[in-house]
């Protein structure tokens, strides 16, 4: 059957804000999905020429190479401080950080909380996959009680290592943040909702409303030692019990 291309309408394509470079993520990892959603958002809001990525230390360290946007790479945990510096001297830029759970909720706790508390007009994308991915599967501040990791070989013991940190709930207590939400990507419905949340978070910044954070429950097939499909089931059936989905602050 021959197809007349003239009558075809393109309904899905690579976002213009992405370069041709290949992501360095493992197969089945949700990181790539989030990167795509962000790129799509940048396209839809028409902010590619104003967007500045602040990449963090972790699997997304060279994220700025995948976007047709300016970008900085921050020291481990310091992305929100770097973003503060950029945004304060050039408020016209649309500045967002992209940080994992180790980066944002362990080594960068102070920077993350205080940027939120100051109400910096930035957007924070927080990737919560409950594990240290790049270093090979160590316990994260978000690792579930009982979850296996290379540095808690008998599973996370709350007596020794405490409980998973609910960062979104923590900063929801502050007065300044205008939009704080937790989203997931384990099925198509969730991906659509997550896309809307990310767009709303960026929109907040574009409109000068203030600090927004999207915590994204994601997977790590490699270090969870599961197939991608199994990781989606785990997120849907187990992880959401510790990290409930939905908006925590919406002052938009």
């Amino acid at each position: 059957m021959s197809v007349n291309m003239d009558n075809m309408v393109k309904v899905f394509e690579r976002p213009r804000s992405l370069t041709d470079a290949q992501f360095s993520y493992c197969p089945g990892c949700h990181h790539g999905v989030v990167a795509r959603i962000i790129a799509q958002t940048i396209d839809e809001l028409g902010i590619q020429e104003r967007a500045v990525i602040v990449a963090s230390v972790g699997c997304s360290v060279s994220m700025y190479e995948w976007f047709r946007c300016d970008g900085a790479q921050a020291a481990h945990g310091r992305a929100s401080a770097v973003a503060t510096g950029i945004k304060r001297v050039n408020p016209n830029l649309i500045v967002f950080t992209y940080q994992g759970d180790g980066d944002l909720a362990a080594i960068g706790t102070a920077e993350s909380i205080h940027a939120a508390n100051r109400g910096e007009n930035i957007t924070v994308i927080f990737i919560n996959n409950q594990i240290y991915g790049m270093t090979g599967g160590q316990m994260a501040p978000t690792t579930l009680v009982g979850q296996w990791a290379t540095s808690c070989p008998d599973g996370r013991d709350a007596e020794l290592a405490g409980y998973p940190i609910r960062f979104a709930e923590m900063i929801a207590q502050l007065n300044a943040p205008v939009y704080v939400t937790r989203q997931a990507l384990y099925d198509q419905k969730r991906i659509m909702a997550a896309s809307r949340a990310i767009k709303k978070a960026f929109q907040c910044q574009v409109e000068g409303k203030g600090y927004s954070l999207v915590e994204m429950l994601t997977n790590c097939p490699t270090n969870w030692r599961m197939s991608p499909v199994e990781t989606n089931s785990r997120l849907m059936n187990e992880v959401v019990k510790t990290f409930p989905l939905g908006d925590l602050v919406d002052r938009v």
């Binding site: 500045v52 300016d70 900085a72 790479q73 921050a74 020291a75 503060t84 510096g85 050039n90």
Partner: protein, 339 residues
């Protein structure tokens, strides 16, 4: 020093309170917004230096200040600034250490400032003022050199300078339009490809190339930017080497010694990195003794000995714990070493 920074076109300051430099933070809180710049009192020294990383990456002359324990916290950030080729000025109003130490003037941070401090193969320009007038001049120079070579630059002062009041003529504010362009800055990828400010290069070949290029700039700095001041050295038989507050005290010692017929001269290194090795080497062949005086257990003296080798005696006199030597103390040490 804060006003000098604003005169130099600094439009972003991030800091954290610590004695004896808190007045600098307070001055910036009052005056930076009026100058149209950004001021944030950060949650920590770590956050402050990383805010500097962001602001400098965005293309603005940027500064932070602290005192010794706080400077230790900034070391990670300074390594990243160096690695990302970001200009930034850091003022250290040094105090007694190690640890919490005390809040008295000291020079125990020389190694940290001039030999690395943070991790990796990097250098930082380090300038040592001996008076408020010199501090003003050197803060402005620090911004120019940081921009010229895309490196962090430190003004290493001490609690004496930080708490001192003396008259100074401030320069005119320089026009921001006259500052060198920063085509690498993160200003939004409009009409050009994306800019990246990063310290990361996974491939050893890439990192080696990047580091080699940076080392080339360090060699240029060593060649072009050595600064020092000589006092009464032309006929001297004995030389005191001192920087910062101690150099100022030693100027009085030179007068006292000369009045007693002792041919004492003074060399004050102004750039602590790059260190004035060559001038000291040249002097060392015509004097018998080069006495280094510091408010430390002996840090700069290692550089003096590198320069002098065995061409002259290189005794050391240091005061510890925030004690400040008097001109007479230094004269006493000079007399011990006069043959």
């Amino acid at each position: 020093m804060a006003e000098a920074a604003i005169c130099a076109g600094c439009r972003a300051y991030f800091g954290y309170p610590i004695t004896p430099q808190t007045e600098l933070l307070e001055y910036m809180a009052a005056h930076m917004p009026a100058a149209g710049g950004a001021f944030v009192q950060a949650e920590s020294e770590v956050a402050a230096i990383n805010m500097c990383y962001g602001a400098s990456a965005a293309g603005v002359r940027t500064m932070t200040s602290s005192s010794s324990p706080g400077i230790s916290l900034k070391m990670e950030g300074i390594s990243y600034l160096a690695a990302a080729d970001l200009p930034c000025v850091i003022i250290n109003v040094a105090r007694g250490g190690p640890g919490l130490g005390n809040i008295a003037p000291a020079q125990g941070d020389y190694f940290q400032a001039t030999k690395g401090g943070g991790h990796g193969d990097y250098r930082m320009i380090v300038l040592g003022p001996a008076s408020i007038a010199e501090a003003v001049e050197l803060v402005m120079l620090a911004f120019d050199l940081a921009d010229k070579y895309r490196v962090p630059a430190m003004v290493l002062s001490d609690g004496m300078l930080g708490q001192m009041m003396e008259p100074v003529v401030l320069p005119e504010h320089i026009s921001l339009d006259s500052l060198p362009g920063r085509p690498w800055a993160l200003t939004g990828a409009r009409g050009r490809g994306p800019n990246a400010v990063t310290s990361f290069a996974m491939d050893p070949v890439d990192l080696s190339r990047i580091n080699t290029e940076r080392q080339g700039r360090y060699r240029q700095i060593e060649e072009n930017e050595v600064r020092y001041r000589e006092t009464e050295t032309s006929d001297a038989t004995i030389i005191v080497v001192a920087y910062g507050t101690v150099a100022r005290i030693a100027r009085t010692t030179v007068k006292m010694a000369r009045s007693q017929g002792i041919k004492l001269g003074l060399v004050q290194p102004i750039t602590l990195w790059p260190f004035p090795y060559a001038p000291l080497r040249a002097l060392s062949s015509r004097v018998s003794t080069i006495l280094t005086v510091e408010m430390s257990a002996g840090q700069m003296v290692e550089d003096v000995r590198l320069a002098v080798a065995d061409r002259a005696d290189t005794p050391f006199y240091g005061e510890l714990g925030g004690l400040v030597p008097t001109p007479k103390d230094i004269l006493r040490e000079v007399m011990h070493n006069v043959r």
